[in-house]
Symmetry: C7
Subunit: 222 residues, 7 copies
């Protein structure tokens, strides 16, 4: 039956499930463990940098989208990169047309619509989930968008390998008034716990105070 | 046979049924329980907010389309959002061209045609039903549109999980001259009854008096 | 074999039949019983309004296309509505270009060509038959068009569920000089007879005298 | 094997036959018996009007294409009508551009090319054969075009149900110098003989004398 | 295996053969026996006119392309006619643009490219071979083009049913200095020999002396 | 499995091979034995002219592309001809735009890109390999391009039937300073040896001295 | 199952893997062993030139993209060449528009996007990986891009046959401050070790000092 589904995978199976979207989520769940966390004064993105072989620089896992917004993602790297390009272009275009910063809600809508349209037509859905963190008129924003184009807002997200375990660690340690250092320690603990050992992790943060999204110096594996 | 149907699912099966449209309705029936109710002085939209995990904001379930019209939906969230965008754009365009508010009948026709066209060509039908509530020249309007593009008008609708049970509760408690408070209590009871327990519910209402569609403060689970 | 046919259903089977068109006719035969009747002084459209649940307004079954023409249909409701929109637009366009009323023959040709083109290409045929009633230079006109785009002219048509039984009742009671009241009684009897019980029925009529197509007040179930 | 052929039916089978064209000819052979006959002074088109039920007007079977040309056809009625529209438009366009009547050879070429192109691409061939009768500079013309786009010229043609039997009757009774009355009697006898009983028949004729194609009053069943 | 090949027939089979082109050649081999013969002073095209039934004019088998070139073909008649139209249009266009006669090499290249392009894309190859005969600056020309678009030049060609037998007769009787009468007798004998009996044959000839391609009066069956 | 591959043949099989390209190479290996040989003072193209039947002129096997470049090919003749046309047009276009001769490297790139693009999309790869020989600023050039668009440069190439055997003969007899007569004898011996008997062979040569590519008088079979 | 996957290979399998991309990687792993190595003062590209037969020039394996950037690749040669053309055109276009050298990051993004887009739509992914080496404002750059469009940055890469073995040799011998001669010896040893014998190798280098990318004289097999 699974093989049969394969043929026209952008259609429903008899249970009304979009089979290829479900498979694309499988691709995400093989990606590196990636977290988003929003506290009172900052929003933090943390993504495991998988141990690479010698002579290979770790791939960029946290991206500056615009001065006030950053992104991270998990899944097929080519898909993550393409989606990040998509929101970067949207942010630039907004600056050109309106001469203001794009708000995070509009950015996530661009991302959702792009992902959703790849579930309607005879192409494959993207095999990637993306988390956006930014500051706009409405305050600090943390949004996750999945391969079906569904957006989620919240204070804590985990995608990629062992996401559930990592999220549980975050949930238990989370306080809205935690400091950035506490948060960095928490996401590091969550990623390392989920993957059973010390990990190299890339972080990015947007602070309420400065309103800038910055990539942090890559944390060495503990 | 079901697998066979899968191949060219936007065509008829020998009984003359559009198989993919039937499957899309299955997708709707897995969505969160969502109600529309129209009384003499108001039209109310109520949608269950599924219990989410910690750190996750519940998704918006009731949408302002234009000053005088709101919408809710059930099914694939990406599909619901895309359809709500579709009617929002239609409402804006109408204001620009005619400098008046769009009437609810025209809005539901836009929605029906959009949904219907996705049943004719080699794409998938949308896996979502939408309910519109608004006030226009013809009075209070409540319309539901399903994945095949069929519109329904009435005073009470239920879509999503356990819709039949919820609708039965509404039907028994409905009076045309009920107050908004009574209606809120009724739709809450219907959603909770259908899902076997207390639920968080999002409501939106358009009142004959003000002519404005407003999202109500999210009712805490009882 | 039937499953095999499914694959490229807009093509012929070895007997030279267009399989998907035959299946689309099955969709029509599941629709609500719908009649057209033309006498000396009027043409009448009558369509069963299927018993709906509480709180649901019955769907419009008889449509004004233009001042002098009406339509009804049976089959997939989204398909019927789309086809009615198609002829309404044709009628409007004709008024704009020629500043006269469109004649019924031209209208039915528009409808036939639209339906026919969906049998030639890799899309599904419409699952709906439509009956047009109007008055033009050539007198009173009653035309039925089926999913293959074939037009029929006559004084009595039945489509939808149990169409044969309903038509037989009409045939036995028909007289060219019958009054509108007699015709209303006859189509009501035919629809109720075919469906084994009293039915709510929507009627529309174009009278030779006034030349207007009017929807009649919905007849309560007898 | 036949089912296998179904898949890409606009391609050849191993014997080099165009399978869908063969199936389309099956569709023609189920149509109503239809004849074309050319004598010294006229060309006659005669098509059986199949006994219809009460309250149904028989469909037009013989069509005026332009003042000097007529057409008839057999097979899927929607297909016949579309093809007749095609040649009517070609005749009108010719008048507009060249301010003269189109000759029958050009008309049949238009028809052949239209039919042929539907055998080359991923669409279905038309399920209809058409006979044209007209008078032009070259004299009286009688041409039949089949679903593959092949044109035939001659003095006697039969298409539709039991075409072979009907043609045999025509062949035995044919004389180049027969009168129109004799020809009408002959085609009537041929159609009735082929269908085993009296039939309603529609005739159309173009006379060398007048150069006009006229539909004759519908002959009542004998 | 053959059935499997059917699916994507414009692709190669494992032996590197274009299966649909091979099948199209089967279609040609069912056509009427058709010859081309070039001697010192003329080039002759001869095509069997298959015995037709009474009242049917034999189809034109030899075509004037331009004053100095003619064509004949075998296979699906609709395909032959379309290809002849193609070269006629090329010849006309050449006259318009260059105000000279097109040479036969250019004409055959047009034909080859047209046929070849239908072997590359998802359409069917033409089921017809064509022979061109003409006189141009380079002298008398005789070219055959087959469904794959391959051109052949020579003094004797045979296509259609029993082509090999017919060609053998031509080969044995051929002399470069034969007269037209001898050539007509030879091609007649070849066609009749191949088909086991007397045949009606259509001939066309281009003479070095006049430089005109003429269709000859149809030779009655011997 | 092979049959399965047939379905979407422009995709990879699990071993990462482009199956249709491999099949297209099979088509080339059935073509006539064809050689390219480059010595100090000339580059030679030699192609077997397969024994044809009486009355058939052998097909041109060696083509002048431009004054200074020639080509030969093996495989489907329609494919070879189309590719030769492609490079001829590129050479002409280069003269028009730059008013200089195109260099052989650019020509072979045009050919490679054309062939390569037919391996990416849903069309068939060309079933032909081509060898170009020319003189440009960089000296004498000999390039072979295969159905995948891969170019090869060298002093000796063989394509078509028994190419390996023919190439071995060339390899053993090759000297960079051989004379044209020696090279003609060598390629003749290679082609005849590979095909087990005397063959008619067409040669073309570009000489360093004249810089012109010339077709040589067709060598009679030895 | 593998055969089943073949059908719509640009979609996910149930494990969420893009099957055709995996197969394309198989094509790369059959290519010639190819290395990239970046030290303090230079970046080096080294690609095995497979032993070719006599009379065949080895194919170019290292390409100058622009004055300051070079490329090499492994996999289908037609694919490698097309990708190199793609980045060359991007570099030229950048010079025309911005009148500066393109940076390596932008070049690798062009390459990634091109490769990625061939994984989304109904075409085949490229069967090639490419390594870019260049010097720009950010210093020496070494980037590898694989068939999915994923870019990797680092100081040592190996692609093609026995890439893992070759990379291990590089890893053991690598020092950031090694000289070019040491690096040439190292990549040579790595390629020869991986392929079990002496190999001809093509090298290209960009030096920090000169900022030019140069192809080195082809190293003779040791």
């Amino acid at each position: 039956m699974a093989a049969e589904m394969q043929r026209m995978p952008f259609f429903y199976n008899p249970e009304g499930r979009l089979v290829q979207v479900d498979y694309a989520l499988q691709a995400v769940s093989r990606g590196s463990t990636t977290l988003g966390l929003k506290a009172k004064d900052f929003a933090l993105l943390s993504s495991q940098v998988r141990p690479t072989r010698a002579l290979l620089e770790p791939a960029e896992k946290v991206f500056v989208v615009d001065e006030h917004v950053g992104a991270t993602g998990s899944g097929y790297i080519g898909d993550v990169n393409t989606l990040v390009d998509e929101v970067r272009v949207a942010a630039q275009r907004h600056r050109l047309v309106y001469e203001t910063r794009i708000d995070v809600g509009t950015l996530s809508r661009v991302l959702s619509q792009h992902l959703h349209s790849f579930t309607l037509y005879a192409v494959r859905p993207f095999g990637a989930s993306v988390i956006l963190a930014g500051l706009d008129e409405l305050g600090l924003q943390l949004v996750q968008v999945d391969p079906s184009g569904t957006p989620f807002r919240g204070s804590g997200f985990a995608i990629g390998q062992n996401a559930d375990e990592a999220l549980e660690v975050v949930r238990q340690g989370y306080r809205p008034d935690m400091t950035l250092d506490e948060a960095l320690a928490l996401t590091t603990r969550a990623i390392e716990g989920a993957n059973g050992g010390s990990s190299q992790i890339e972080h990015g943060v947007v602070r309420r105070e400065t309103g800038k999204f910055e990539r942090l110096a890559l944390a060495a594996a503990s």
